[in-house]
Symmetry: C2
C-alpha cells in the first residue's frame, strides 16, 4: 500500500528522508508516475531537485510528462546534457509532443532523432495541428481491419494485443479511409464467419483532426466509447482520441479557467523562482494599475465635491464594490455558458432581459437597504437618496456589462475568463464613482 502523499511530502521536507535515501527510494517506488509528479510539484526547489536525483532513470521521462510546464522546466534545466541521451531512449512521439514546449530546441532535435521512422511520422503529423486541435493529441495505437474482414479476423487481432482504452476495431477501405467501427464485445458474441460490417456501430461520432480539443474531449467523455476515431478532411483515419487524453484535456481547460480569474496560467509553479513568479504576476498588476488610475482620474473630477462632503469619500467604495460583485456574478454565469456552448446570438437577447431584471430587482432591494444605512449613519436624507440611486444605477449597469462584455470578447477571440473580470471591474468602478459623486454634486452642494 502506497503511503499517503501529504505524509510523504512531510517526510521529505522535514529532512527525514535526506538521512535515509533508501526509504525515499522505496517510497517513490510505491507511487505511480502521476503521484511522483505531484510530489515533485509540491516541493520547494531544493527538495525537488534532491528527490529528482532519486527518481530511477527509467521513470524520469514518464514523470516529466505528467508534470505542469513551469515546475517541469526547473527539472529539465537541472538535468545534465549527457543524461538526456539515456532519458530519450525509447521515447515516443506522444511524450515528445507533451514535453516539446518545455525543452530547448537542441533537446527536441535530440529526442526526435531517437524516434523510429513511424514515430517521427506521427510527430510531424501532430505538429501540423495547433495544440488546441484534436490532431495534436492523437493516440496511434488502434485496431484496424479492412472493410471485408470477418469476426474470425477480429478475434485473431484481439488475441494478439489490445491497446489500453480501446473498445472498438476500426474498419477502413483500401485507401485508408475510415468507414465504421465495431465494438470488441460484439465480436466475442458472434459466429466466426459473420462479416464485421454487419456488426458496426451506427451512431458513433467521428472527430476531425482540426476539431477544437475541449469540445472533442467532451464528446469522447459522453460517447460511452473508450475512444473516438479521428479523420482528416478527406476522411483518412489519423488515429483516435482516447478517454484518458480527453479527460486530461478537459481538466486542463477547467484549470485554465480557474487560474485565469487571477491572471495566471495553469502551468504556474507553486515554487517557481521569486523573480520569475513576480514577473508572471506583474503583467496583471500592471493592467490593474492602469484601470485603477483611470478610476482615480474620474474621482479626481469631483475633488471640489469631496472636499465639501467627506461622507462621499467614506461611502464611495461601497457603490463600486456592490456593482463589482453583481457584475462578476453575471459575468461568471455567461462565461461558463460560452465555454459550454450554451450562450450564443440566439439566446443573447433573452439572457440580457433576464439579467437586467435580476439586476433591477437586486438593485432596488440593496439600494434601499444601503440608502437607509447611509441615512442613519450620517443623518442626511439627501445622502441616503444619492447613494440609493447610485447603487441602483451601478448594479443595473453591472448586469449589462456582465452580459455584453464576455460576448464581445468572445467575438474578438479574447478569452473572457482571463480579461473579463478586470474590464468589468473597471466599468463598475468608474460607473459607480461617477454616478455617486455626480449625483452628490447635484444634490448635496
Amino acid at each position: 500500500m502506497a503511503e499517503p502523499l501529504p505524509d510523504l511530502i512531510q517526510e521529505i521536507v522535514s529532512q527525514e528522508s535526506a538521512e535515509d535515501p533508501a526509504m525515499l527510494e522505496t517510497n517513490l517506488a510505491s507511487q505511480d508516475d502521476v503521484a511522483v509528479a505531484t510530489i515533485l510539484e509540491s516541493l520547494p526547489v531544493e527538495h525537488r531537485l534532491r528527490v529528482w536525483q532519486e527518481v530511477p532513470r527509467e521513470r524520469k521521462l514518464d514523470v516529466l510528462v505528467e508534470m505542469r510546464s513551469d515546475p517541469r522546466e526547473i527539472l529539465i534545466d537541472a538535468t545534465e546534457h549527457d543524461e538526456w541521451v539515456a532519458l530519450f531512449s525509447g521515447i515516443e512521439a506522444e511524450d515528445l509532443l507533451e514535453l516539446m514546449d518545455s525543452l530547448p530546441n537542441r533537446l527536441v532535435d535530440l529526442a526526435y532523432a531517437e524516434l523510429d521512422a513511424q514515430q517521427q511520422g506521427f510527430f510531424r503529423d501532430a505538429t501540423q495541428f495547433d495544440d488546441d486541435e484534436v490532431g495534436h493529441w492523437l493516440n496511434h495505437g488502434f485496431l484496424v481491419l479492412p472493410l471485408n474482414a470477418k469476426v474470425r479476423d477480429g478475434l485473431r487481432l484481439i488475441r494478439r494485443n489490445v491497446p489500453s482504452h480501446c473498445d472498438t476495431i476500426f474498419l477502413v477501405n483500401r485507401s485508408g479511409h475510415f468507414s465504421a467501427a465495431v465494438r470488441l464485445t460484439r465480436i466475442f458474441g458472434s459466429p466466426e464467419h459473420v462479416p464485421l460490417v454487419e456488426l458496426i456501430e451506427e451512431s458513433m461520432p467521428v472527430l476531425k483532426g482540426n476539431d477544437e480539443s475541449t469540445n472533442a474531449s467532451l464528446q469522447v467523455q459522453r460517447s460511452g466509447y473508450a475512444s473516438l476515431p479521428v479523420v482528416d478532411e478527406n476522411n483518412k483515419l489519423l488515429g483516435r482520441l482516447d478517454i484518458t487524453s480527453a479527460s486530461e484535456l478537459i481538466n486542463e481547460f477547467y484549470e485554465r479557467q480557474v487560474m485565469a480569474t487571477a491572471g495566471m496560467d495553469e502551468d504556474e509553479d507553486l515554487f517557481s523562482p521569486v523573480a520569475k513568479s513576480a514577473k508572471n504576476r506583474a503583467v496583471w498588476l500592471g493592467i490593474n494599475l492602469l484601470t485603477a488610475f483611470m478610476a482615480s482620474w474620474f474621482i479626481g473630477l469631483f475633488e471640489a465635491t469631496l472636499q465639501q462632503v467627506v461622507a462621499l469619500a467614506v461611502l464611495m467604495p461601497i457603490v463600486a464594490s456592490m456593482g463589482g460583485i453583481a457584475g462578476s456574478q453575471t459575468l461568471t454565469l455567461i462565461v461558463r455558458g460560452l465555454a459550454l456552448g450554451q450562450v450564443n446570438n440566439a439566446n443573447f437577447k433573452a439572457l440580457m432581459a433576464k439579467e437586467l431584471k435580476v439586476g433591477a430587482l437586486n438593485g432596488v432591494i440593496w439600494a434601499i437597504i444601503i440608502g437607509l444605512i447611509a441615512y442613519f449613519w450620517f443623518t442626511d436624507i439627501l445622502l441616503g437618496v444619492v447613494i440609493c440611486l447610485a447603487i441602483l444605477f451601478n448594479i443595473v449597469a453591472a448586469a449589462l456589462a456582465g452580459v455584453f462584455l464576455p460576448m464581445i470578447l468572445d467575438k474578438l477571440k479574447i478569452d473572457p475568463a482571463l480579461s473579463g473580470s478586470v474590464i468589468l471591474t473597471t466599468v463598475t468602478d468608474i460607473v459607480g464613482f461617477v454616478a455617486f459623486l455626480g449625483l452628490g454634486t447635484l444634490f448635496l452642494l
Copy 2:
C-alpha cells in the same frame, strides 16, 4: 450528421421550429441525451418547456439525468403527476440517485417502488454514503468470477455480455471479498486451462466506499483502467467506479470551483426565474455589503484627514485594488494547491517564505512606480512617499493573507474557493485604507 447546437438553438428561439414541430422532432432525434440536455439548459423557460413537450417520453428520464439541478427542476415542476408513472418505468438506481435531490419526496417514493428488488438494494446501499463519497456513485454492472476460475470461464463470461467501460474481471473469494482483477485482453491471449489467478494485475488500485469522490475519480482517470473496484471496510466488493462517472465527478468539481469565485454554485440555471436568481445571488451581495461597510467604517475614522487632503480620497482605491489583485493571485495558487493535495503543513512555511518574497519584490517595484505617478500628478513629494509605503505594506500583507487564509479555512472545513476571495478582499481593503490614510494623517497634516 447532427446539426450544430448553436444553429439548432437559434432555430428554436427564432420560432422557426414552432411552426414546424416535425423538424424539431427530427432535430432532437439526431442529438444524444447530453446534447438535448444542453439545448434545454440553453433555452429561455418558455422555449424550454415547449421543447420538453417534444422530447419523446422514453428519452425524458435520460435527458433529465444529464441536466444540472436548477434547470432540471423547472422541467420536473412542469411534468404532470400522471406522466411520472410512465417516465419511471424501467428506472435504475443510478438514475434515481442522480435525480433524487431535484425530486419531491413523493416522486422519490414512486420511483423507488418502480425499482426491482436488486436495484432497491443498490439504491439503499448508495444512500448510506454521502454524495461526496465514492460509494454513492457506484456502477453495479461488472464481471465477477470465483478465485479458482480459469481462462475458459472468463471467455464464457465475456461472450455473454460486457458492460461498457469495463476492461477487467474481478475475482472474489467465497464470502464475496475482492481478491484481484484480470484484464480482459490478457484472457483473450491465454490458453483455456490457465487459472485466472496467474494473470492478475499486480498493482491495480482498489478504492474504498468512503473515499472522497474527487480524489478517487482522479485515481481512476490516471490508472489506465476503464474502472477501479470499490470495496467496503471489510474488503467486500461493492461495485466499481468507471471512467465516465469519474470524469463527470471531476468536471463537477472544477465547475464548482469556477462558480464559487462569484459565490454561485454549479447548478445555477442560465434562465432561472428572476426572483429565484436574485435570491441565489443576494446572499453573496449581502456578505459583500457587510465587508464593504466595515471598510467604510475604517475610512470614516479618517474623515478629518480626508477633508484636508482630498488627494487621499482620489488615490485610495488604487491602494486597495493593488492589494486585492496581488492577494487574489496568491490565494488562487494556494487554493488550487490545496485542491490538488499539493499544499499542506509540510510545505506551508516554504510557501509562505516564497510568497512573501514575491510580494516584497512586486511590492517595491509597484510602490515606486505608483509613488512617482502620484508625485507628478499632485506635485507633492510627501504624498508620493505615503502612497509608496502604503502600497508596499498592502501587497506584502496581501501575500500573507493569501497563504494563511485558505489554509485556515481548509482546516475549518470551509471551502476556500467559495469564501476565500471575499475575506481576502476585506483584509486588503481595510489594510490598504488604514495604511494609506493613517500614513497620510502622520505625514500630510
